[in-house]
């Protein structure tokens, strides 16, 4: 096995049955091996009954393999895979709560919002809410700009969500194989 010991941000896509308590099992696999979770998103997937966990963490490739295998070992986990950024379509969302008086005083605030393709979704005379979708760097770039302009009251950034670029749907293939095994077992 080749060894790539450089650490980088890996994205782990994990599919599981929809059962309570699984999130703590998955996070425990990471924390036990001293790997910090950078971001986490959990939602229902396009496959009925299957939940999708999107986890990012910085580690080397060997650790990424171990983490994936240990997560997949949990009984209710259907599939786990890890990816680098070039293998994924990636998105994040962020919301800003900005001070309306500062915004009105300084036209640079509006310029920055437009420059970053962000949207204003609510304005009143106290605050404005701005939404941006993109990759981490775009979002942080807007945040830095607005922070410098002194108008940020609140800021929140979502965990990463992503879709694989691959033409192979691992989960569908896995479920098909399992279904076939179930049928052959029933026949026996």
């Amino acid at each position: 096995m080749e060894k790539d010991t450089t650490t980088k941000l890996y994205t782990f896509l994990i599919y599981s049955e929809n059962v309570p308590g699984l999130l703590s099992q998955i996070t425990a696999v990471f924390t036990r091996r001293q790997v910090n979770i950078e971001s986490l998103n959990v939602c229902a997937s396009s496959t009925p009954g299957a939940h999708k966990y999107t986890v990012t963490a910085i580690c080397d490739e060997r650790m990424a393999r171990i983490l994936t295998a240990q997560v997949e070992k949990r009984i209710e986990v259907l599939q786990a895979h890890f990816y680098t950024d070039d293998e994924l379509f990636i998105n994040e969302t962020a919301l800003f709560k900005l001070s309306t008086p500062v915004m009105l005083k300084n036209p640079d605030v509006g310029r920055m919002i437009r420059f970053h393709n962000a949207r204003i979704i609510e304005v009143n005379n106290t605050y404005a809410v701005v939404e941006i979708t993109g990759i981490t760097n775009d979002i942080l770039s807007l945040f830095d700009a607005l922070k410098t302009l002194g108008c940020v009251l609140q800021f929140v950034r979502s965990g990463r969500i992503c879709i694989t670029k691959s033409r192979v749907e691992h989960l569908d293939e896995y479920l098909a194989v399992r279904e076939a095994k179930k049928l052959s077992q029933e026949k026996k």
């Binding site: 096995m1 060894k3 599981s16 049955e17 308590g21 703590s24 099992q25 425990a28 036990r32 060997r62 393999r65 171990i66 295998a69 240990q70 997949e72 070992k73 009984i75 209710e76 986990v77 259907l78 479920l175 399992r178 095994k181 179930k182 077992q185």
Partner: protein, 563 residues
């Protein structure tokens, strides 16, 4: 259909799974279940232990020797937390076990109710599966799923947290069977391309070496292993848990791997050209320094647990599947051949170890009794057909080194977790798992006192445990490390001992102390001839060391033969 309580449903579900022995201890939150058990005493033989830790270790001992799922039943809160050590032990040693814990009713969950603890939260990281039964309707399904998960694939412990309202609630009981879980594949299909590659690597190897782990016993593949190594003339070494997977005196069995194993297998690990690991997990006590471990060799790893591949040691070929199947398939493709010169190469190391260590351990001329001679004599007195149960420490290392095995499933020891106090209750469980065999427990004065209350269980059950107490008035293994690595600073390892014969007498267990070499044979014979339990206390040399030894973190082939 008549309605029954969830507790009654549990009894029927356990019977449906073929459970015949339960080790347990009652308490508040499990009382409805114990009430139901009262009507099932004929089919479900409940063994009342003296502490919940005893229940789980007994269930482990039962499972190890019988190959069946061990079962423990305890109450909520402290009853459940007292099982934690045994659950963790069963997890790391792949022992199939189902632990049923009482729990407060669902209406009380999360209120810090009396004897409430988050059992699923506590046990999830140390169990194969942990599940809370909240409704009587779920009992049949949950029990079926629990036993399926515990025994299939790589076995392990499963915890069922049984809420009180689910015990008392009424349900139409129908037996359930689980033999398929979509997200869990315990019997992966064998890839024939991997089998072919493995066979080719073995056929091309001049200096092959097989590492035999407990997976061979768990997969019931003892015969397949034997056929495999005999056909291709493959020397092998075993882990502690794999000791009885191949007879000790088999000409291809070169001995034990690891820190306190035999010199030959460890040296040859770093000289072979192909390492064939079967059902083992490259524990650090087996490998020593990973940076120098078998670097010259290609490595094939046969295992049923995908997550074990490349976990500690990078391998050239991973063969996934039950070794009963994979080894049988590889055997078809390997050449019938001889590796005589290579195998002869083990001999000088065996002779050197015999001269420097083994002969001295087995045949001392004078001085106090030694652990090695006691263990070997007990083994021989059982015609090497006994079950060896050990506690943890020097007694364990010496027992693994000097007990001999002719029958499969004869080893009950806490290998991965190294749980002191494991031995006595595990030996009780072994007497129920293999009632026709002689169960010999080797235990030190430290470990015996950690679960000594289980002498009460032995008394009540008449469990025929032959307790060989290797008493050196020290916490011996820690003392050895203090001698070797901490300048003989014996920090809290000398121990003032009670009168063990009197303690045994209090429990009505026949006991004897042997101090003289001349009395040893007769004492062992008397112990084995006495029906039921027996405590044989052996006054052994106080500051004796287990050798050879690879110091922690050292290269595995750099074993010390003397201190």
């Amino acid at each position: 259909m008549e309605k029954v309580t969830g507790a009654e449903a549990l009894m029927r579900a356990l019977e449906h799974e073929g459970v015949d022995v339960l080790f347990g201890y009652p308490g508040g939150s499990i009382m409805p279940t114990y009430d139901a058990l009262y009507d099932h005493k004929k089919t479900l033989n409940h063994i009342l232990v003296r502490h919940e830790q005893g229940a789980v270790h007994a269930a482990q001992g039962y499972a190890r020797v019988s190959g069946k799922v061990g079962c423990a039943i305890v109450t909520s809160g402290p009853g459940a937390t007292n099982t934690v050590t045994g659950i963790a032990d069963a997890m790391i040693d792949s022992t199939p076990m189902v632990v049923i814990c009482g729990q407060v009713g669902v209406a009380m969950l999360g209120t810090d109710a009396f004897q409430e603890v988050d059992v699923v939260g506590v046990t999830s990281p140390i169990s194969k599966w942990s599940y809370q039964i909240r409704r009587a309707e779920d009992v049949a399904w949950a029990v079926a799923r629990a036993f399926y998960i515990a025994k299939s694939g790589r076995p392990g412990p499963v915890v069922l947290d049984f809420a009180k309202n689910a015990q008392t609630g009424m349900v139409n009981y129908e037996p359930a069977t689980v033999d398929f879980i979509r997200s869990y594949d315990p019997e992966p299909d064998v890839k024939m391309t991997d089998i072919e590659r493995a066979a080719k690597m073995i056929n091309n190897s001049v200096k092959p070496f097989v590492l035999v782990g407990q997976g061979v016993e768990l997969g019931h593949a003892q015969e397949e292993l034997r056929t495999f190594v005999e056909k291709a003339d493959l020397p092998c070494g075993t882990t502690f848990l794999g000791l009885s997977a191949i007879p000790s005196d088999h000409p291809l069995n070169m001995g034990i791997l690891g820190m306190h194993g035999n010199l030959g297998p460890n040296v040859m690990t770093n000289q072979c050209d192909l390492l064939i690991a079967i059902g083992m997990r490259f524990d650090d006590r087996v490998t020593g320094n990973l940076a120098t471990y078998a670097k010259q060799a290609k490595i094939i790893h046969f295992d049923i647990d995908q997550a074990e591949f490349n976990k500690n040691v990078p391998v050239d070929l991973a063969v996934l599947g039950n070794c009963k199947e994979t080894i049988a398939e590889v055997t078809k493709l390997v050449d019938q051949t001889k590796h005589t010169a290579w195998i002869d190469g083990f001999k000088p190391y065996a002779e050197k170890e015999y001269e420097k260590v083994i002969d001295k351990a087995l045949h001392p001329k004078d001085g106090p009794l030694l652990m090695g001679e006691v263990i070997r004599k007990v083994s021989e007195a059982t015609n090497n057909e006994g079950i060896m149960v050990t506690d943890v420490g020097q007694n364990q290392l010496m027992a693994c080194r000097y007990f001999k095995f002719t029958k499969k499933r004869s080893v009950v020891t806490s290998g991965g977790l190294g749980t002191m106090g494991f031995g006595l209750p595990a030996a009780i469980g072994a007497t129920f798992g293999a009632p026709d065999r002689t169960v010999c427990l080797f235990v030190g004065d430290g470990g015996l006192q950690m679960t000594i209350q289980e002498l009460g269980t032995i008394m009540e059950q008449g469990a025929p445990v032959k307790i060989i107490l290797l008493n050196n008035n020290f916490l011996g293994n820690v003392r050895q490390w203090q001698e070797m690595f901490f300048s003989r600073r014996y920090s809290f390892t000398p121990m003032l001992n009670p009168n063990y014969e009197l303690i045994a007498q209090g429990y009505g267990i026949p006991a004897k102390t042997v101090t003289e070499r001349a009395d040893l044979d007769a004492s062992i014979a008397e112990m084995l001839a006495t029906p039921g339990p027996y405590l044989l206390q052996c006054a052994i040399k106080e500051e004796d060391n287990v050798l050879p030894m690879t110091p922690p973190g050292a290269n595995i082939d750099e074993m010390l033969l003397e201190v």
